[in-house]
Amino acid sequence: MHHTLYDYASDTMDDIFERFETEVKRGVMQVAVMCLLEKERYGYDIIKSLKDAGLGVEEGTLYPILRRLEDESILSSRWVTEGPRPRKYYTITDYGREIRGKLLESMRSIELAMGNLENDMNGVN
């Protein structure tokens, strides 16, 4: 099987795009999780809601993020062992709400700045 230079460039471009997308998504996912956890939810439920909202991710990556947010007191959790399987339920803390507010504000200003940059770029082209 012959690989052309175009195939190689295309693979590299896919890799770069995937890396960028993963980095951006991981940051966004943390804020999205904070938004979802106004109501108490467990991991599988969170992933379903993220997918419904159009934020599909590698499912396993959610759990380290939940752990990190919990370590940073942004989320609190409790185990519910009644029912067929033990489930860990998460909810946002007051401190988390404070941070979420700031992050959403920051994301809005980033979005605005990117929009301006995109307009400038299109204007130049």
């Binding site: 759990y63 993020i65 752990r67």
Partner: protein, 352 residues
Amino acid sequence: MTDDYNKDYIDDIAKSLGGKQPGDMAEELKKQLLIKEYVDAATEGMSGQQKNDVARELRTHILDSADALAAERKVPVSEQIVKEVLAKMGPAKKIAAMYPAKKAILEHGMGKALLSLAGIAAAFLAVGAILWLVSPDTLKMTLPGSGSAQDVLQIILSVVFALAVAIVAIAGIFLCMYLYNTTLKTPYEARLKAFERSLNDKTSLINVTAKVVANIIWLAVLNIFWTKAPFIQSFGNNPALVPLLSDKFAPFVLYFNAIAIINILVALSYLLIRQKWIPSLLETIVNLAVSLLFIWLLIVFPFNAALSMGPTTLIKFVLAVVIFGCLISTAKQLWDTIKFALYGRTENSDTV
């Protein structure tokens, strides 16, 4: 609670195997084994409660996902479905690497500094205990020419006492800073991280204060104790203590004093000068001067002719190691200076 995960695992296998044919049992075991292998890989490196919690959570997720996928396709949960679920989860090693490493306070830089001091104190006590058991007379040896009847035991106890005071003082300072940070409403991990970052950041007030305090302590210790520092005259059967240094060392004291004062000024200049490469370059020059001073010390050592070949060689070896360390530190400092000049900051500094 630590074994909850294993209990869930065994319960599930027992439940799912109940009343099944041998072929179905093999299929069930294969599924459970796949899940266990994945969860074990994802929790590798974790221990205790964290491992148990993460394992239970991941296992529940895999089983929930497998049930949902099987229901969607209107088929029973099979090995193939479990494999698909695991593929959607992503590589187990990647998940393991994403989990935050939970550090105890003693694993952070400041904790390590306190542990090192405690270790040195324990080592001194251990030496005292061994000497007391093996050669009690050595503990009663006095230092000739010191003008006081200070024996080895007293010296060991004073060093341990000084280290204990230092540990309490440093721990007290850290505690005050930590308590101050608690008023900032930041969580434990973030507080420790911010504090450690400040300690490593040459441009931070904490780092500058630590350097100034360390240099003042060094000045005090050097000027008060240099004439009294004892050392074993020889490594023979009948060791005697003699002064390590003599009047010939006096000029070096002046140079070391000058360097300590310059060090304090350079540390303060990180707070005062906007272009951080300037104090960084000055620090590089000071480090180089310290290296040269130690090379000079190595050349002219010993200062007391009473020291025999063995102790002299040992001290010269230690001086050579110190010179090597100083040169490495100078090179690192030069690299930091270049980074300050090019980017306006190093990895640890907050200056932009």
